[in-house]
Symmetry: D2
């Protein structure tokens, strides 16, 4: 399990989310409260949108709390839209290629959760990727593969649909090889214009997801765990929800895969 925070709104220094709040993402890397693992010290990353269509990306394998570069970069860089992540590995090795966010063209993606039985599902899932998408695979995590499956299933055209298809593909592959589908998925992703997030699980334990409007500038934060250590201003997003933020005044929260879930045998659909 990992911790992450995404921001969209008026330009903000990255540090206002990553480093400054009393329960900032860096603080959570040392001591998370709502995560299965308190320590998220297996690397970190930040993707931000700025001068170009594609995001900037800074990832490293040190714990976030001890990286001087991250401190300096987040003090200097301002962005209207960014994703930041601290990692607690559930299996994959600690390497830069396995750190979130993952980036492809204009898209960025980060994830908290896991695909159950990933060791057995991995190959079958990879075989469903087109060559051009498979060639983008640099690491070995289930998270990166979810992102690639979304790209495969039309992320550019319909983000929510692409994610549904990615989840269905995982379920279908699980059915094919005869293991129960087990997915926990709290993720955020962006094309540089809108911010998307999802809270979903195949069981009752979807990892937590919150939104809040930041006081100083009315920007919007979407996070796996409140930044200031208290739930006060923070709104929990219900399980099985898909969040679309067009701008800080237009937030849509829709059901995600609810129909499919109500039919318990649909995993192999």
């Amino acid at each position: 399990m990992c911790r992450w925070a995404a921001y969209i709104g008026p330009e903000l220094f990255l540090e206002d989310v990553i480093a400054s709040p009393c329960h900032s993402l860096i603080a959570q890397s040392h001591d998370a409260h709502e995560a299965k693992t308190r320590t998220n010290g297996d690397g970190f990353g930040v993707a931000w949108y700025g001068a170009r269509e594609e995001p900037g990306l800074y990832r490293d394998i040190l714990p976030a709390w001890s990286d001087q570069n991250l401190r300096s970069l987040s003090r200097q860089i301002r962005s209207h839209l960014f994703l930041a992540h601290v990692r607690a590995s559930t299996g994959g090795v600690t390497s830069r290629m396995n750190c979130h966010p993952f980036v492809s063209g204009k898209w960025s993606f980060m994830h908290n959760g896991q695909i159950g039985h990933f060791d057995r599902l991995r190959r079958g899932l990879e075989s469903r990727l087109d060559d051009a998408i498979y060639a983008q695979k640099l690491g070995s995590t289930d998270s990166e593969l979810i992102f690639l499956l979304m790209l495969q299933h039309g992320l550019d055209h319909d983000p929510a649909r692409a994610l549904v298809e990615a989840v269905n593909t995982i379920k279908s592959e699980a059915a094919r090889i005869g293991v129960p589908a087990f997915i926990r998925l709290t993720a955020a992703f962006s094309d540089g214009h809108r911010l998307y997030a999802v809270r979903y699980a195949t069981d009752r334990f979807a990892p937590s997801l919150y939104t809040a409007t930041l006081a100083p500038n009315a920007g919007l934060c979407v996070v796996s765990e409140p930044l200031d250590g208290e739930a006060g201003n923070w709104m929990p997003v219900p399980p099985n929800s898909f969040v679309t933020v067009k701008d800080t005044k237009r937030i849509t929260i829709e059901p995600f895969m609810v129909t499919e879930e109500s039919a318990p045998t649909l995993e192999s659909a």
Copy 2:
């Protein structure tokens, strides 16, 4: 505060102390029980005596739990005497040069604790080192400086005396600049033949120190926190003690700086 373990006895794979016990040093890097900080993810190191008079040294800045090299090395390397350490920084940056153990010639040294007001004491203490010893300084921690002060004060000739002198030097420097002396010091060090350890503090909170005879081969472990998570076989060493292990059958525990401590104004002696 950090966690460490030292071993002396029949040759043993490093992993039997570092990785295998249920509350091994690697497990403690993720979740220590008796430390002020639960997470000790600011690097690690191991010094072991083997084919040469001077010890081998492997240190890196990753958390111990995620370093594949450490896993492989500790599975291959056997030693009759080694020191292993996981670091939780109390101030210094995370760099290899600041990871314990520190090594000089045949000597190795590692430490849990801190020197209070180190920022203000550092220069004065460094100025008391001979050029040849000062030239060995590679990092910026209080721990390394304690080791250099011990070298300065005759570590080769009388280890216990050298440590007393090092502590007195720190107290004397604190008195000189007018700050209260505050030292917490649980350390282990070795010349490749004997294993030395100390548990000491200027206040009542000397960091914990334990010894135990390992069941499989009757070797002796000296640790900052029991390896198997239960104090069963583990003997706490009293505060203000100096431990000398000549071999696994000859362990001496002597008072350390007790006389000086009983006279509260001796800090500037």
Copy 3:
């Protein structure tokens, strides 16, 4: 292109090959003479056989010349059989998982050379691996894939045959997708008992390969480039040769894929 050195014979400190000769492997990391790239600074690794059936493995992404851990480890560790490698990337990212040697059970493998058109061949080659072997893939290099193909084709039973099959598989896949087969392959590998090496290319430019008996102890070195900077004692191995070292007195050099090569259209066999 990379540089590497393998040793088999009486126990030797790793440093006697890695660090001490005037044109040692570490020296070659800074300034190779016979390589296409003078600098081999994209990581390094060493696999050595010692206390266990499986080898120890130490790999990191720093240039070999600046890694203090490598210096210390190679001063302490003695082995009768080891492989050491300095990397110059021909494409893959710099990560520990992409550093040679690669290890699987008792086997270790390292490589200098490349598979042409690897981007296009990679997926088809991976699809030919059994699940259990595919699951061992941790990085993204052509070199690791050659090793996995060898495992797939019976490395345990007939090393030379396994390598022939691996090469034929690459050629066959190239034929299938319609690109010319282009392979340069100077590799060493071992099961802890014998040392194997190959010098091969599909064109006339097989990367160099040499053997020499070391003066101090009559051990045998197999290298991509002479260690002492002069070819004096060093014997070049002819192109398209397979080398088997049972012990330092029994070295066999056999033709490798010569029959196939003489029939220029056999690439697609």
Copy 4:
């Protein structure tokens, strides 16, 4: 010896200097032409002025050519004034703290060259620093110490004078302990408004220094080696010169320490 490039002018992406020119700084990290060492793979760094008075700082120990973070950051970050450096160690260990540029408040500094006999001069020079300046020392290089000596001698008030004093302090210390003063110093530094550079040596071999106006936007580059591999547009700065760039139209080149140098015995002045 290292390679570096500084830029002042209209806002530019860092990559236009660091990564894009055919003989860019990243290319020079692999293959410098005018340096004593061709390879500059012992880390890199960049300091840039942007949203705040103090510069941002990104340094790491990998070779510049293999750092994906550097590629992404330099594609995203624009600055009107920045310093970039690739390091070839002349002695100090490879650590982030030893990578240039060094930063203090609004000042940044980077250096190519060395102080001869630094091992023997280091302590005496450090003892001349005020406590507050000494406390800023994080690494162990001669370069960082030159920067601290400049801060000690009034960098905020008179940059050229501060550098003269720093050089004189080194000469004076060399005289005191009886070693010949040997300094090679090609450096750039900035307060975020002006860019300063110096080319100086106590012998006839001052490391090279060039300036050029960049075609695309008329910004000014000051470099240790021309970026495009040809001296065409590049103007060599004479030895013993101090360069002040107020803006791209007002460049001053003044003699540096010429008077002192003409009197060969003045080293101990």
